[in-house]
């Protein structure tokens, strides 16, 4: 251990040094601090982020309402208790009265109950559309990202074309293709608009994963290709997709509202849905704008909740923005 070949003298270290090296090398204490997991530190940040908290609160209230609304709604949404008060000219939409907080709609159905229960359809459409979109996007993106080459080119060309269509127009096209509109047409239409976004996102991060060292390492270990895709690439590539999904929920809700506003939603309009309520309100916009105001407000607030949550989630998870 001497450095006689070196041109300069260096002090030799005492015996304690060897001990220490050995001790440290074998003990090799596992450190906790430096690389605190991204998720955990993200959570730490989120917990204190007022923007996130507001978003989460809105979302939570909305989800809870959507789940329990049928039980807490004061009226059956399909019943029309105030029908006899409706007069197309003199009283098109009965105003508030005891028992009917916000009055009724144009067929005497309790408006408040419908708004409340409307959250349910909205949530169902938003969630299912996003889930379906995720499913499709993940499949396509994973195919393109995992196989690459020709498959990638073909899939991405399709995705690019889909992306270049304005989302609403695309959804509209899909929805109008259905012979009979239903809630599922709506969901599928919106999911379709989400597919290319998720696909591109996933494919991008899959590609990044593909050329990453840890995948190369797995490959050099001789891990089977399928295991590489499912154990290494996909899980690591999912982060941005998940964040996007949160944001997509907001878009899905807005799009669903727009489509059912255009009459492409559930043909059974007895079950309330905010977009469809907005659509109905259009006829009364001059005389009873509140009919449009409530559902529009609900849509905005809920979309806001998801967006705020998604945005702050994205910022929290993005190492770049952790300044």
């Amino acid at each position: 251990m001497d450095d006689n070949t070196g041109p300069s003298r260096r002090p030799t270290l005492g015996d304690r040094r060897k001990e220490r090296i050995d001790a440290l090398a074998t003990a090799g204490t596992v450190v906790d601090e430096p690389g605190k997991s991204l998720l955990r530190s993200a959570w730490e940040r989120l917990r204190r982020d007022p923007v996130f908290l507001v978003g989460a609160a809105i979302t939570l209230v909305f989800v809870v309402l959507a789940i329990i609304s049928p039980w807490i709604a004061p009226w059956d949404v399909t019943a029309n208790p105030l029908i006899d008060k409706v007069r197309p000219q003199s009283n098109p939409v009965p105003g508030p009265e005891p028992g009917h907080l916000l009055g009724a709609d144009d067929r005497g159905r309790d408006l408040f109950s419908r708004l409340l229960v409307g959250s349910r359809q909205t949530l169902v459409v938003g969630v299912f559309a996003t889930l379906l979109g995720l499913l499709g996007g993940i499949t396509l993106g994973a195919l393109a990202g995992a196989i690459g080459g020709f498959v990638d080119t073909v899939v991405m060309r399709i995705v690019d074309v889909m992306l270049s269509f304005p989302a609403l127009l695309l959804a509209f096209t899909i929805a109008s293709l259905a012979r009979e509109p239903s809630q599922w047409t709506l969901i599928i239409a919106i999911a379709t608009t989400q597919v290319p976004i998720f696909a591109r996102l996933l494919r991008g991060s899959m590609l990044a994963q593909r050329s990453s060292d840890h995948v190369l390492a797995a490959r050099s270990l001789g891990v089977r290709p399928r295991a590489i895709v499912f154990r290494h690439m996909l899980p690591n590539a999912m982060g941005p997709v998940i964040v996007q999904a949160t944001l997509s929920l907001a878009t899905a809700i807005i799009e669903a509202a727009a489509l059912s506003f255009l009459g492409l939603g559930n043909p059974d309009q007895r079950q309330p849905e905010w977009g469809q309520m907005l659509g109905l309100a259009q006829r009364y916009i001059s005389e009873a704008p509140h009919l449009a105001f409530y559902p529009a407000g609900c849509i905005i607030v809920v979309a806001l909740g998801f967006t705020l949550m998604g945005e702050s989630l994205r910022e929290a998870l993005d190492p770049k923005s952790r300044r």
């Binding site: 029309n80 029908i83 006899d84 409706v86 007069r87 197309p88 000219q89 003199s90 098109p92 144009d106 067929r107 005497g108 109008s176 012979r179 009979e180 509109p181 009459g263 043909p267 059974d268 309009q269 007895r270 109905l280 259009q282 006829r283 009364y284 916009i285 001059s286 005389e287 009873a288």
Partner: protein, 533 residues
């Protein structure tokens, strides 16, 4: 450029200088009414063209217009029209019997494309020159300078009332000739129209100005050489404003003087703001169509009656339809001759309905019941609302309703025609005052009707009865025949369930006078004057 607002024209009465701006819901297709099919086009051409016969303002009654009188021969196959002698076309051409016959021959003698495009002629006359023996129209002869004789293949209630149809208006032979009016051609998926289609020449109180396509305005100018009373405004402008609430806002902002089909909801508000809502007499029928082919249970008359009893039509009419709407007792409104005043509406009686259903063994009836979207018709301003009400009633007696829907042009009509729905809502607005135009349209054609009457034992009988009644020359006799048929239809056949008649309205702003609402939505604006603010 001159940016004067349109509403400040003076209202000095006859021959005033004002401009009347009317908000139309859609753009006209073209200006040759012969090839046109839609109300927005007719609204414009109506101001420029006249027919041999006209309609008394405010009613559906036929009155003399370019012909002062007409007489049929005994079997009603030859009609002699005495024409006005003081009429010239806008281009200065004289209006006379030759011009009339020229017009008939022009309409009759269509090329292949013209036969399809000349929708209304085909509809009322049945055929064109290439299939002359099947045509109602058989010929026209100028029997004098101002006397023309039109022969038809057989008597019908529709003749000569049908000549009041906008499509069958009189147009200037010279202009027709020069503009190659019949030079229509099929091209691609549409028809290309000759130059004449955009340079119409008629005899009416207004002459064609210009169609500013880019701005969506059609302007007509007063015809100062009009044979009748000159129009009250010097200019008549139609502005295309597709959105309903925008039309209202335009009216409120004073930039238009009136518009068609105000939302019933707005009527009260509009009146409050000093506008006047002119409600037309209903000339339409909304019915619930039934299809026994698709759902055999419906073949049972009792089941159909039961369905009828479930419908709370009084409530529907009072809560969902505009004021002035009425519960229908038969397949035509009371303004039409042949209307049977004796008929009573089927009562709202769920108990009776249940009993009848039970009797027929159809307690757990399931209906594929459809309504159209993306449409608003005079007889159903909002189909979904009406549907919802009907559905609620049906479900109340334990009928299972499968909700079906499609957009009006996006398959609804096709599915109705193809019998894909067990039940559907649809209706009809009369073209002219003729019972056959209602019931004949519905059941007169045995092979092709939406009710599938061919499958019923009485179907052929009904069709024959209708034809026979239609061929009766005498008005009173014919009316009686139709009354009988109406009663049979409602009591014995009940192929569908007539629901209601709705009054469409139009609204004009303050200071506008002289609008006479027409049940046929055939308002003529020459009598309209525009006052100051």
């Amino acid at each position: 450029a001159d940016s004067e607002r349109s509403d400040d024209g003076g209202g000095e009465g006859g021959g005033g200088d004002g401009t009347f701006v009317f908000g139309a819901a859609g753009a006209p297709e073209m200006f040759d009414p012969f090839y046109a099919t839609d109300g927005e086009t007719f609204r414009v051409t109506r101001q420029m063209f006249e027919g041999l016969v006209g309609i008394e303002p405010g009613t559906a009654e036929v009155v003399p217009e370019l012909a002062t009188e007409w007489t049929p021969n005994d079997d009603g196959t030859e009609w002699t029209f005495t024409l006005r002698d003081d009429v010239t076309f806008h281009d200065g051409e004289a209006f006379n019997a030759e011009a009339v016959c020229y017009n008939f021959e022009r309409m009759f003698d269509q090329n292949e494309a013209g036969q399809t495009a000349g929708e209304y002629w085909g509809y009322v006359m049945g055929a064109f020159s290439n299939d002359a023996e099947n045509s109602l129209y058989q010929g026209c002869e100028a029997t004098g300078e101002f006397e023309a004789t039109v022969s038809i293949s057989g008597p019908t209630s529709g003749f000569p009332t049908m000549l009041s149809l906008e499509s069958l208006s009189m147009q200037s032979p010279k202009a027709l000739e020069e503009g190659d009016a019949n030079g229509i051609a099929a091209e691609g998926e549409g028809f290309s129209f000759p130059a004449y289609a955009n340079a119409p020449v008629g005899t009416g109180p207004f002459t064609f100005g210009e169609y500013d396509e880019a701005n969506g305005t059609i302007s007509l100018a007063r015809n100062d050489d009009y044979w009748g009373d000159a129009a009250q405004t010097s200019e008549l402008v139609f502005r295309v404003i597709p959105d309903e609430s925008t039309r209202r806002q335009e009216l409120e902002a004073g930039s238009i003087n009136g518009y068609d089909l105000p939302n019933p909801v707005d009527w009260a508000g509009l009146e409050e703001d000093g506008n006047s809502v002119e409600v037309r007499d209903p000339f339409n029928i909304l019915y619930l169509g039934l299809n026994g082919e698709g759902n055999p249970a419906l073949k049972d008359l009792n089941v159909r009656k039961a369905l009828y009893h479930t419908l709370n039509r009084d409530q529907l009419v009072s809560t969902q339809l505009p004021e002035g709407a009425a519960v229908a007792t038969q397949f035509m409104p009371d303004t039409v001759s042949g209307y049977n005043t004796e008929l009573e509406p089927y009562a709202y009686d769920p108990e009776e309905a249940k009993r009848l259903l039970a009797e027929a063994g159809a307690e757990d009836l399931t209906l594929n019941f459809a309504y159209p979207t993306e449409v608003s018709r005079p007889y159903m301003p909002d189909p979904e609302k009406i549907y919802e009400a009907l559905r609620t009633d049906l479900e109340a007696v334990g009928i299972t309703v499968n909700v079906k829907t499609a957009s009006w042009n996006g398959g609804y009509l096709d599915n109705v025609t193809a019998g894909k729905y067990d039940a559907y809502i649809l209706g009809w607005t009369g073209d002219y005052d003729s019972p056959f135009n209602f019931v004949g349209t519905f059941f007169g054609n045995l092979k092709e009707n939406d009710f599938g009457t061919e499958a019923y034992p009485w179907g052929k009988q009904l069709a024959d009865d209708l034809k026979a009644a239609d061929a009766v020359v005498d008005d009173a006799e014919r009316g009686a025949a139709f009354e009988t048929i109406n009663q049979q239809i409602m009591d014995e056949y009940l192929p569908g369930l007539p629901i209601s008649h709705s009054p469409p309205a139009l609204v004009v702003g303050p200071g506008v006078e002289g609008v006479v609402p027409s049940p046929l939505t055939a308002e003529e604006f020459d009598s309209v004057s525009v006052g100051g603010e």
